[in-house]
């Protein structure tokens, strides 16, 4: 395949990690909770999925069953983290930043402990081909476009549709914008916050799992998930809190991130080693610019949810 096309597809596949992470984070933020635990949750999702695969990887179960069980493992583990985060911030009303950071510390640590005990030959070697269906046999970048890649795109589009086109989405946005008003019209604020945080965490967890099992499919892949978790939070701002936009945004981030390794294929681009870090810095700089520009333009639709970061307590005025 053409090097160019190869590069673009690879960026797209790489970006799916961020699509998961930022779609999950967007849902949580739409409920008014800035979840800085997302990197840890993504780690835990990856660990959960691999833990399950480590048990069934060589069991000879049908591929579809292995795929589904792995996904379940990732979901259960990351949603458990989401539940913990919700309990601390929604019920116990602890500062969201502090809780999120503690969760990231915990999640990334626990993942490393778990992953160090798993055998890549079991959880990775066999199962990765099931996940890479239908392109598992290809030698080019297309092999990364597996089930989880398409699931990411579907989830991002579905999340956008739910948020903007359904009653549940309307209620959820009301909770994040103005919980007191939502409460006054009879919306169960606590339930919405819990559910979206848990679902969002589950989605983010799949991102970690995808990165380990499909995109990188290597034994060391888990070491870089935390960094991509932070990038996912950046992407939320870049996408202006719109899940479908994360697809484009993560493609752009993917291009910026992986072009430094692909760029050597093009002799007409002169690149030195020094440019690599700068290229990788670019997503963050662009995100900052987006944040600044959207605050200067002050268009209401592009602002963070109004109650982001503030815990809701009905009796407070």
């Amino acid at each position: 395949m053409n090097v160019w096309l190869n590069f673009l597809i690879d960026s797209l596949a790489f970006g799916a990690t961020f699509v998961y992470g930022s779609t999950g984070e967007i849902l949580t933020e739409k409920a008014g909770h800035l979840n800085l635990g997302i990197p840890g949750i993504m780690c835990m999702g990856g660990a959960g999925g691999c833990l399950v695969l480590n048990m069934i990887g060589k069991s000879g179960l049908p591929g579809a069953v292995i795929v589904i069980l792995g996904i379940m493992g990732a979901l259960v583990m990351s949603m458990a983290c989401g539940l913990l985060y919700s309990f601390l911030t929604v019920t116990l009303r602890v500062n969201q930043n502090v809780t999120g950071l503690a969760l990231t510390t915990f999640g990334s640590g626990l993942m490393k402990v778990i992953m160090s005990k798993l055998k890549a030959t079991v959880y990775l070697t066999g199962p990765k081909f099931f996940y890479r269906w239908p392109f598992a046999d290809r030698q080019d970048s297309l092999h990364c476009l597996g089930i989880l890649f398409f699931l990411a795109i579907a989830i991002a589009i579905a999340a956008g549709w739910v948020l903007m086109r359904t009653r549940v989405g309307l209620h959820l946005r009301a909770v994040g914008e103005n919980p007191a008003t939502a409460d006054a019209v009879g919306i169960n604020v606590t339930r919405y916050k819990y559910l979206t945080t848990c679902i969002g965490s589950g989605i983010a967890g799949l991102g970690g799992f995808y990165y380990i099992i499909d995109y990188m499919a290597s034994q060391e892949a888990y070491l870089s998930i935390e960094a991509f978790g932070w990038l996912s939070i950046a992407l939320v701002i870049f996408a202006l809190w719109r899940p479908p936009v994360t697809i484009i945004g993560s493609f752009v981030f993917g291009v910026l991130f992986s072009c430094s390794s692909f760029i050597t294929h093009f002799d007409w681009i002169r690149v030195t080693m020094a440019n690599k870090p700068l290229l990788r810095m670019l997503p963050y700089v662009v995100t900052i610019l987006v944040l600044i520009i959207s605050s200067i333009r002050n268009k209401r639709e592009n602002q963070p949810p109004a109650s982001l970061g503030l815990n809701y307590f009905r009796e407070d005025r």
């Binding site: 950071l101 510390t105 915990f106 999640g107 402990v113 778990i114 932070w230 080693m273 944040l291």
Partner: protein, 381 residues
């Protein structure tokens, strides 16, 4: 006004009120209980994760003893403990003025990292070419300026356009990280991207390697405590944090306070960066700060944004960290165990603040009626 009447009727099993005040004994009792519970939870998790413990449950005593061993068993470990507390405390202190102003600066990591970079850059270019004392001063200045610049940029945008400071400062961390990688590539042409220890620009030592750093941070702690509680600036920070409207009413220029405080916050991160650069590492890597900028947020919050209490909380976090490292050594488990232990303990310790700040009233209890009366008095934040 009083809305209790309607809610009493469809009251769930319990309801919550903010406490108007709690005796320190009770508050510390709650915290101590959380600590003990957290320790038990750590034991439980350790049981699941550590094979050697599962095989030999009798070693659970050794597991807990490792916490103490980690920081206090040898004088070297103890000094290392004090040094680590000092650096963590320094970063936490730097973030505190901003937090007291309700400016959620989570960019301590980046602010400290660029300061390390700034100091090492001076060291790299001028080391050996100018007198050592001048080099140290220049490094110090570079660290302070870099930290201040990194801190004030988000503050300027927040003051002018209301740009969300939490997200902005978060992003600045990563820009700092890649800035460091960039310079490492430039400075280390062989491609290894690891800058060898510089020969110049080393802080003089007194007693042992760490004492000077510890003393500097101790002085800073007391100084910052005085600044926050006994100076006009500190007072203005508190007023702005509590109520912007009150601040305007008494004629405080809110934006100026925000910018001034973030410059200070950045400069203190700069000091931390200088201590790391000139006092300890004499080199820079993307991991020079090692996540302490984030841990510092938790230390500061747990310490109630009070510099003196933060000595305790920084000590606690470091104690857990070194204890857990000791465990990974003694029980031969992955080096990431400290993060797990620290995370679990933090969940318990931050979760218990809820019981310090809120009262739970169960349905039908006598206190329930009192709560209603309390509501009527009006509850502020």
């Amino acid at each position: 006004m009083n809305r209790r009447q309607t809610e009493e009727v469809r009251e769930p099993l319990f309801h919550l009120t903010r406490r108007m005040g709690i005796s320190p004994v009770k508050a510390w009792g709650i915290r101590a209980a959380a600590f003990v519970l957290g320790m038990l939870a750590c034991g439980l998790i350790a049981f699941l994760l550590i094979e050697r413990l599962r095989e030999n449950p009798g070693r659970i005593g050794a597991f807990y003893y490792a916490f103490i061993k980690g920081s206090f068993s040898t004088s070297y470990k103890f000094w290392k403990f004090l040094k680590n507390v000092a650096i963590l405390l320094c970063i936490s202190l730097a973030l505190t003025p901003a937090f007291r102003m309700r400016f959620w600066n989570i960019g301590g990591e980046g602010q400290t990292l660029v300061s390390v970079l700034g100091a090492i850059a001076v060291d790299f270019y001028f080391g050996g070419r100018i007198p050592e004392w001048l080099l140290l001063i220049l490094m110090f200045a570079a660290a302070l300026v870099s930290g201040a610049v990194w801190g004030v940029i988000p503050a300027l945008f927040r003051a002018k356009w209301g740009t969300n400071e939490t997200l902005f400062t978060l992003m600045m961390n990563y820009v700092a990280t890649y800035l460091v990688s960039f310079f490492l590539v430039v400075w280390v042409p062989n491609g290894s991207s690891s800058l060898p220890r510089q020969q110049h620009g080393r802080l003089p030592t007194i007693g042992n390697d760490y004492l000077l750093i510890i003393l500097i941070v101790l002085v800073l702690t007391i100084g910052l405590y005085i600044y926050l509680y006994y100076t006009k600036h500190g007072y203005e920070i508190s007023v702005v944090g509590e109520s912007v409207r009150t601040a305007q009413y008494v004629g405080i220029k809110v934006n100026r306070v925000i910018i001034r405080t973030m410059i200070l916050s950045g400069m203190l991160c700069g000091l931390a960066g200088y201590l790391i650069a000139a006092g300890l590492d004499q080199t820079v890597t993307t991991e020079s700060v090692g996540g302490q900028g984030f841990t510092g947020i938790m230390v500061s919050w747990l310490g109630g944004f009070n510099p003196l209490t933060m000595i305790l909380t920084a000590g606690l976090v470091q104690f857990l960290n070194q204890g857990a490292s000791q465990i990974s050594q003694d029980f031969d488990v992955s080096g990431a165990l400290p993060n797990v232990i620290t995370g679990i303990m933090l969940f318990f310790i931050i979760g218990c603040e809820f019981f310090v700040n809120y009262k739970i009233h169960f349905r039908g209890s006598k206190k329930h009626a009192e709560a209603a009366a309390e509501m009527g008095r009006g509850i502020g934040k």
